[in-house]
Symmetry: none
Subunit: 175 residues, 4 copies
DNA sequence: AATGAATGAGCATTCATTCAT
DNA sequence: GATGAATGAATGCTCATTCAT
């Protein structure tokens, strides 16, 4: 394995560790903690991400990549409406790690054309299938994903989370 | 002016300054900054609020009080549906300071019976007037207010904010 | 009661409170705490004792006065040797409040002629009675009182305290 | 020099600086002051000793180590009685730095088996040689060392210190 | 490239002291 | 005189960032 490969592997380990740590303690967690989790020294973290902000951005970018991946994966589903709903539930649903994906949307989605593209396809197909009202665009969907995530994060009551999410999904249905 | 009055005035100034500073920099803003904004020494801030957490709680409690006030004020409106919608727009709407009110809901609404009461009245009247579906309770409304606030905070585009909010309100209408 | 009398009463209350608080928490205890215990405002404490140091000094002076009082009281005892030993046990013995008296000796005894006088009488009589070696003076006794107090403060084991004290008293006996 | 060696050297410098500063200003001296004296940043002090208490403990432990060292060194002396007396004079004697050793005894001697061991040997040999009465144990000796140190610390008069110390040593002699 | 020790600005909090009432 | 609110310097501790090895 070339040294370059080692460095890449380290970068990935740091990124993964940061993602975990940020999910658990928020992005105010110390860089030391991230380094410890990654099994590297702080210096290594800073070599790959020269700033705490750069690390945070990279984590968000990676999460965004996964959001796009999920969207693409679901786009193959035959039932376009179900795919759209599943996507919503996946991101805004009950489990912490997935909710973290939405944080990435809030932080930088507007600029990321890949994600906008994947989401656009999912939305477009759902609209053509008559499962989603036709007067909404990708931006509204992103805003609602963010909102739904926060709304469901607020409470520990899982059934309340489900009911809240359904209200938002109802709002997205054609009248 | 008795010392008591002076002290109360100072307490209020600190609280107001903290509210402002927290809106601008989040509640991690330094106590020094709050003191500076209030035009007092740090010691004074700590005399009135012995802990950073106590200050944060007090700011939220005050915001919550204002939320309750708004709800009560709107409860007098003859058009119960309009009152409910106006409340939603007020808290989740476009202006920063009002959005801060929702933060208070997210932080502590569950425990505050006054706010739950005022909100309950507003919701109940809107439901009786047929403006809001009958299968939602105060908790769903709070969750949605939080969600709507975050959804609209995300973007600077005011018209997008309006459209997003309307989708949520549509979800709350009787089918 | 004249205002002067009120002020004197307050001074005494503050002094008593400071003594108690210093015994319990050491003289690093806050002035606020002393004021609270005395049932007065901080301002009153500072009016009577313009400095923390002044308060500490006053507490020590008062303790010294009590040391002198004890010495005088014991000087009446017919058995001069017993009186001397009792004095030693009183100051260096097991109970906290009495040990605090010795702190005052450590802080300022050299200068206080009253205490030196009372102690001198006690010592002199014990020496004449053949209970204490004749080659020691007041200074040695003070130094040993301080030492004995610290030696016995160190341990919680009461019987050990007693044995340690006896060794010192043995050292003071004529050979 | 490996980083490890540098770090160790720094740890030692901090420890030495803390010892000095604590001798001069007591262990309430600020960590800043210790850092300044050591010629390092505060962060470095806290890296090596994560808490003020940890630093104090480390200083005491180091002093205790030196106490044990002295005891061991003196144990080789042929005249066991002289060795014991020399030890007493060393710890409770006239020079400040040595008196600081006793502070360590007061703070933690009970738990440190090494020191108790070395002291025990010294004491035992002195007792077998008939220089120290047989009814005292290590605890009494420690208590008396503490007492003697305080007794001699109290005064600046060196000859008085010597006389006071001798009285205590007389008390330790077989009757 | 990786390491982790060093740095020092920054933060929450305490407390002696002052002063308006 | 008495009160206690206000002040701000000082303290212990954290953490992003740098750099010698």
């Amino acid at each position: 394995m070339s040294p370059r490969a080692d460095a890449l592997r380290n970068r990935a380990r740091v990124l993964a560790a940061a993602d975990e740590v940020f999910v658990e303690h928020g992005s105010t967690a110390s860089t030391e903690e991230v380094a410890r989790r990654a099994g590297v020294g702080v210096g290594t973290v800073f070599r790959h991400f020269p700033t705490k902000e750069a690390l945070r951005d990279a984590v968000y970018a990676e999460r965004l990549r996964r959001v796009g991946e999920e969207a693409s994966r679901l786009a193959d589903n035959t039932d376009a409406g179900a795919a759209f709903h599943e996507f919503f539930e996946l991101l805004a649903g009950t489990s912490g790690p997935n909710q973290a994906l939405t944080e990435a949307l809030a932080a930088s989605a507007t600029d990321d054309q890949d994600v906008r593209g994947s989401l656009g396809v999912l939305l477009d197909r759902a609209q053509r299938a008559g499962a989603v009202r036709s007067d909404v665009g990708v931006d509204e969907v992103i805003a609602l994903l963010i909102g739904a995530t926060q709304a469901t994060t607020w409470t520990a009551d899982v059934s309340l989370r489900g009911r809240t999410l359904n209200i938002i999904l109802d709002g997205l249905r054609p009248h």
